[in-house]
């Protein structure tokens, strides 16, 4: 049993880690009252940014590069949505297209058709001394890469920041009511710029994690829908930090289960396994019941209900 369980949970955490970065970034963006459905384009930009920067300055540099690339894409989104007041959904759609195209173009330009070798600088899992020898939890939670450990610190930090700092409070307020935030003297534009850029940087980190902590190479379109999944994770997590993290774990688990079931040689059409994570989410959403409470400003986005 344990022989199956540990690798499964291990894969769950590993798969969930990049998803959690993107979802937490999207969470912060949405809590400011803006939905960025261009997360897919941001993630793939982070993938390439991570690859290029890591090639130039090592893995640590790579994560920085990924975050910057993601934030750069998000800046385009913010400029259109906040400055030009363009429709957030169309802008997000275009951003995804832009990200996929731009990364492909740059990748081919930089590496030619032969591509980057598999030898991209990347980070290996580190067994945390002491903790990693705990039964079950040790091999699952404490033999991961630094990016997972960073997440262990980041999730409580974000939760604390949102709940216990004035800036976090301000961010939530902007997402609930632009008017009330204005009345309280908050700088709505700046907060939203900040939230979108932060979301972009997190999406970029998701991409960099994929490349530098997981796959160790870049392929065109390797984001493979993670941007959309991140948006779903935020909804499943009910726009809460811990909820979103758990939802990322659920998705990670569903994917890991999918891999496991196929590898175990179950004689069912493999499409059933591919659909599993999404089916599971639907069932969970129905089981949890009740409309999730979205930040009120999200619902008032012009584009969503304009008549």
């Amino acid at each position: 049993m344990e022989a199956l369980l540990i690798p499964f949970l291990d894969a769950t955490i590993r798969t969930a880690t990049p998803l959690a970065y993107a979802a937490l970034g999207e969470l912060v963006t949405e809590r400011s009252g803006v939905i960025n459905i261009g997360m897919e384009g941001i993630i793939i930009a982070g993938c390439l940014g991570g690859l290029v920067a890591a090639g130039a300055g090592g893995a640590a540099m790579g994560f920085l590069g990924g975050a910057l690339a993601g934030a750069g894409m998000a800046a385009i989104f913010a400029f259109f949505v906040l400055r030009l007041r363009a429709d957030a959904i169309i802008t997000g759609t275009a951003l995804t297209l832009l990200g996929l195209g731009l990364t492909g173009t740059l990748y081919r330009g930089l590496f030619g058709l032969e591509g980057a070798a598999l030898g991209t600088p990347s980070i290996a899992p580190i067994a945390l001394p002491g903790l990693s020898s705990l039964p079950l939890v040790g091999p699952v939670f404490f033999t991961q890469t630094g990016m997972t450990y960073l997440l262990y610190l980041f999730v409580p930090a974000l939760a604390w920041w949102l709940a216990r700092t004035q800036a976090g409070l301000a961010l939530r307020a902007v997402g609930e009511s632009r008017a009330a935030a204005l009345a309280a003297g908050l700088d709505v534009q700046r907060l939203r710029w900040g939230a979108i850029l932060f979301g972009g940087a997190m999406g970029g980190l998701c991409g960099a994690t994929l490349v530098l902590a997981q796959v160790g190479t870049f392929t065109e379109g390797m984001s493979a829908g993670r941007g959309f999944i991140a948006i779903a994770i935020v909804v499943l997590g009910r726009w809460r930090t811990v909820g979103t993290t758990l939802a990322a774990l659920i998705f990670g688990g569903a994917f890991a289960l999918q891999y496991l079931l196929q590898a175990a040689g179950w004689a069912l059409p493999y499409h059933l396994f591919l659909a599993l994570p999404y089916l599971l989410t639907l069932i969970l959403l129905a089981a949890l019941r009740g409309r999730a409470e979205a930040p009120a400003e999200l619902a008032s986005q012009e584009s969503w209900s304009r008549a």
């Binding site: 690798p7 058709l113 598999l118 190479t217 392929t219 379109g221």
Partner: protein, 308 residues
Amino acid sequence: SGGERSGGRESAFQVALLTPGPISDQAWNATAYHGLERIRDSLGASISHIQTKTPAEFEENFRQYGTKGYDLVIGHGFEFQDAARRVGPQFPKTLFVTTGGEGTGPNVVALSFAFDEPSYLAGMAAAAITKTGVIGGIGGTELPPVKLGFEAFLAGARLVRPDIRLLVAYLGNWDDAGAGKEQALAQLNQKADVIYQNADAAGLGVFQAVRQAKGVWVIGSNADQNRLAPEVTLGSVLIDVPHAFLLLARQAQLRAVRGPTIHFGTASDVVRWVPNPLAPAPPAKVLAQMDSVRAVFAAGGRPVVTPR
């Protein structure tokens, strides 16, 4: 950047290629694009390439190339066969070729690669080196050549080691290298110690998984992938698409292509098992066995495959 038209005047030999995926995948699509480049470089042809997604686009672009008077239009994959069959009769001067599928007329021709033959040999090599008796196969989506490759792989392995077990998994796409790696890790965890990947760009993730594990091997496909990770690659099931394309184009220039299907088997040297010289060679007994099987294939014999 890649695919500008080149190679001379309008009257030049015009060749077009349609790929179903990005040409940076270092596998199926990349090797076709290299083939196109080789046609340009060797024959001075004027070339055009387009990446297409849907059947509607296949047909539209076949027509466009036909209208423009292209001499040779290659759809790289069996999925182009319906479009070729429909468009071909309207443009008798253009030769429509699909790699895979079936040809249907004088100017609608299919190239058939005996992908199963080197896959069979790869299975024998895998069976010789596996310690656990479990081997894996990871595909992008379940397409006929992919599936056939895995079936032959298993059959070849069984010849050497009758009790061998093959795990097969599909990723559902050809780009998600992350999924490729995780699926490989899952198979490794199920004791597989040789994995045959046929997932194009996503397959790079399989290479990574194998590189990080100890004492396990990966087998590449379509292109010669031995140099991707020489320390863990057992060999590659190669389709020498550039070679095949050049042969095809030469014949096409002479208007000597004979359809409806052109078969490239072991005899043509277009498909072959390319062992990685850095990997340990199978025991002499197996090597001898492989040689005799290859001889059978070269003489026109086919691998015996029982569908799983």
